[in-house]
Amino acid sequence: MAKREPPVILLVDDEEMIITSIKSFLAIETDYQLLTYTSPLKALEDLKTKIKSVDLVISDYLMPEMDGISFLAEVKKKFPLVPRVLLTGYADKENAIKAINNVGLYQYIEKPWNNDDLRLIIRNGLEKTILLKQLEEKVREVEKVHKELSDVQKEILRVFV
């Protein structure tokens, strides 16, 4: 496999302390590039305008501007294949599980989380993204070869018939 760009992870939590914790942990253990937001609205705005590509999105559930499930549903519209992870407290666990089914979340993490679990969930999510990207590429290749073949076939038919 070719040398890859560091994966891009978008993290939204209205609590600066959570962002700092996760950012610091990922900084010492991974090469992931982190885009962090305390405002889900600002994150959505940037996703629609500035951000070209993102490999995984993590969002808090309870935020004053909008809840994490609505935010991740918006993200899905722009990047349907990107795994979406919800960070949640216990009190809204049932909501989170509902959302996993309704909005199609990849995973949810309960606060307070375990760093190893967090890393594993992110790694697996990213692998899924990579596999999907590879699959897309293969499909494109196959389509390309298919087109070439049908061009050759047309040529053959044109010459012999």
């Binding site: 959570i18 942990f25 309870l62 009190a91 809204d92 049932e94 307070p112 989380w113 760093n115």
Partner: protein, 369 residues
Amino acid sequence: MLENQSLPPALSEELPEVLPIAMLKLDGKGKVLFMNRASYELLAAMKISPENLSQALTQRHRFLVRQALRARLSAETDWVQNGRSVHLIFKASADGASAYLFMIDLTAQADAKAQLIQSEKMASLGLLVAGLAHEINTPLGAIHSNNDTITRSLEKILQLLEGEDLLNREDKKRVEQLVGILRDVCQNTSLATERLMSIVGSLKNFARIDEADFKKADIHEGIDSTLTIVQHQLKGRIQVEKQYGNLPPVECHPNRLNQVFMNLLINAAQAIPDSGTITIRTARKGDSVTIAISDTGTGIDAEDLPKIFDPGFTTKGVGVGTGLGLSICYKIIEEHNGKIDVESDNQGTTFTITLPVSHGGRPKKVKRG
């Protein structure tokens, strides 16, 4: 229609006896001239002998009797005596020489109201606890994660020191020493946050506000989280021995059941004067499970035993017990189609709860309050 039927000839004699309301005739001093059958029953429940009624009535009652007689009117008031809430109506007789006293027993209604208030209190306490636990989780999550990150960073620093000659030997030794201290401190913080996390987890598990319906739950998890909540009442003084059997998940209202466990555990702790043991045994018996909570306390007096599930009954001092704990336990277990039994002697008390494992998909309707 009754209009054309003749009245029974002995109505004036029969009516007071069949009347389900206590009816008495008193003279101006409050002495009983006549009382019907319902009066005997109610006065017995209030532990008042008819001869002593006039003494038992308060000054205010006697004032109302005189007032009713003087004005030939009626007067009403409430009376709480020996756990009975009674509504009193004084009415002057036609000749104004004596007063009729009607006593309506409102104990059941008063108890229902008190239970409702207690349930509401528990419900709001549950909400408060769950909200607090949720709020604590954000900073706790940050601390827990940061501590892990610091520990990991320290290990990386140590690895760097191993590889390269970045420092002279003395400095290296000093740095290693400092890193060693930091590592110990981090380990300590990690233990502390883990303890906090388990307490918060128990609080959330205890409150379980997200679960409004009957659902399959682990009874042991409920008991364990309740034990964490009542821990401070036991600490150092009371040993808790768990003899857990193999229980299947039980279809129940987890936070309501936790209330029962809490009440029984607090009662058990209060029954033990100095130090002692609370033993919790669980077992499966066919389609039911049993949970037995025993204490090595002073026991319940034999004469009190039949009354302990009555609302308002308490042997604890004023301000210690509401007298509602066990009546609420009884009600909650009833909602679960289960039963709660008690055995007691001077060696201690055992409460045994029996619960059906499932309700065949049709749980008994839960009525609040």
